[in-house]
Amino acid sequence: MTEPLINFQNVSFSYSPDRPVLCDCNFRLEAKERIALVGANGSGKTTLLHLIVGLLRPSSGCIEIFGKARHMEADFHDVRPRIGLLFQDSDDQLFCPTVAEDVAFGPLNLGIKREQVRQIVSQTLTELGLAGYEHRITYRLSSGEKRLVAMATVLAMNPDVLLLDEPTSALDDQTKQRLLEVLSRLPQAMILVSHNREFREELTNHTLFLSHGRIEAA
């Protein structure tokens, strides 16, 4: 058996000592696995995703990613390009003035040459049905377009794992369908946080529940 992509061992986390969010949480994501994560509002789903990419540090326990224990900020530098996190609010993710620059931001950070980045940008946008959006101004896009562009910024880094935080929130049925088509074509392993049952069933193999700081199988 190959080693898991993500492995949480007895991970605990709290924003304040009197209100723990995760306690002794154990879970694994295997290669090619697609997990749906459900739980009540405020149960720690987003926190869990942020722990995976090192935006938050656990108060105890060990997080292993790609077979290596990750403790410090520097440990996560090589994790982040390989794990694409789609944020709940696309306005947080799109900060460059134009779509092309935003999609190029990640690849440029990885030190890829400009010519190649341009190619990645147009290829990623075309795959998402956003060809011709290169010079659109990000803040003038509709919320559906923003979500798709945010997806493009994540995919442009060619990650091995996708973490999707409420990808369908505030989207109309048509955009939801378009996003679903895009996501089901992708080969990556994935953790999907969504309240949308249909979306979860179409996209994932099984569902995990997060409640009282622990993860349980359905």
Partner: protein, 253 residues
């Protein structure tokens, strides 16, 4: 969607200015403004204003818009034209009752009005017609410190988001019957509104930072867009230099 930042440009057959390299436009605007502020001769200033007006013609901006944008400036100028002759000494031009108007003061006011309008027009035409993000990029290509151009780019990006947040909060207040008047309740509520906006923007800035880190950001920005210099830019630069030289020559005479 209403945006708080829109460039003042609309497509027009006489719109040549928008084809010119943004870097050349910024340089021209800066040099032109500084020169106008430094010269004194009336003829020079008239030439400067004429040059600005010709540029306005080639920007395709409607005269109505130009007039509207110059109105606040000229309201102040009008005040100057009334007040300066009264407050300065010199050859008396006219007297109304106990108030006498000096010629020096009047000429000074006219000069300031000419300078103000010429500079304002130049900036309005050369910079005001630019998409603000183009301005930001051009600035960083002109080796303006990264921090300044990034602050500008981020401000552009999130001004609208914050504005919409403000409108949402205001609407939420309004539907619960809030009508501003002059009392403590109003001040307190508006204070809460401002405080909430501040907290939300700090939160948002943290989320943006997180999103940037996720995409491999480690403190350095890379620009994707590059500008290229065309022949029309050369003509624009030649024309600008010619106007500047004319102004300086006239000033020396």
């Amino acid at each position: 969607m209403s945006s708080v930042i829109q460039p003042a440009r609309n497509a027009h057959p006489w719109d040549f200015i928008s084809y010119i390299d943004p870097r050349a436009r910024i340089l021209a605007a800066v040099i032109f403004s500084v020169t106008i502020a430094a010269v004194h001769g009336f003829t020079t200033l008239v030439i400067a204003l004429a040059a600005s007006l010709i540029a306005t013609f080639f920007s395709g901006m409607s005269w109505k818009t130009v007039f509207k944008r110059l109105l606040p400036l000229n309201t102040i100028m009008l005040l100057l034209i009334i007040l300066l002759p009264i407050s300065s000494t010199g050859k008396i031009m006219a007297t109304i009752g106990p108030i006498s108007f000096s010629q020096e003061g009047f000429l000074l006011a006219i000069r300031i009005a000419l300078q103000g309008n010429a500079i304002m027009l130049a900036i309005l035409i050369l910079l005001g017609t630019m998409e603000i993000n183009t301005l930001g990029h051009a600035l960083s290509h002109l080796r303006v410190p990264d921090k300044i151009s990034h602050i500008l780019l981020f401000t552009i990006r999130y001004l609208d988001v914050l504005h919409r947040e403000y409108l949402r909060l205001r609407a939420a207040m309004k539907v619960r019957g809030f009508r501003p008047s002059i009392n403590r309740h109003t001040y307190r509520s508006l204070g809460y509104l401002l405080g909430m906006l501040l907290i939300r923007s700090i939160d948002r800035s943290e989320r943006i930072m997180a999103a940037m880190k996720c995409r491999g950001f480690r403190g350095r920005f890379y620009l994707l867009e590059h500008f290229t210099f065309h022949f029309c830019d050369l003509y624009f630069c030649l024309a600008s230099v010619l106007i500047l030289l004319t102004m300086l020559a006239v000033e020396r005479i």
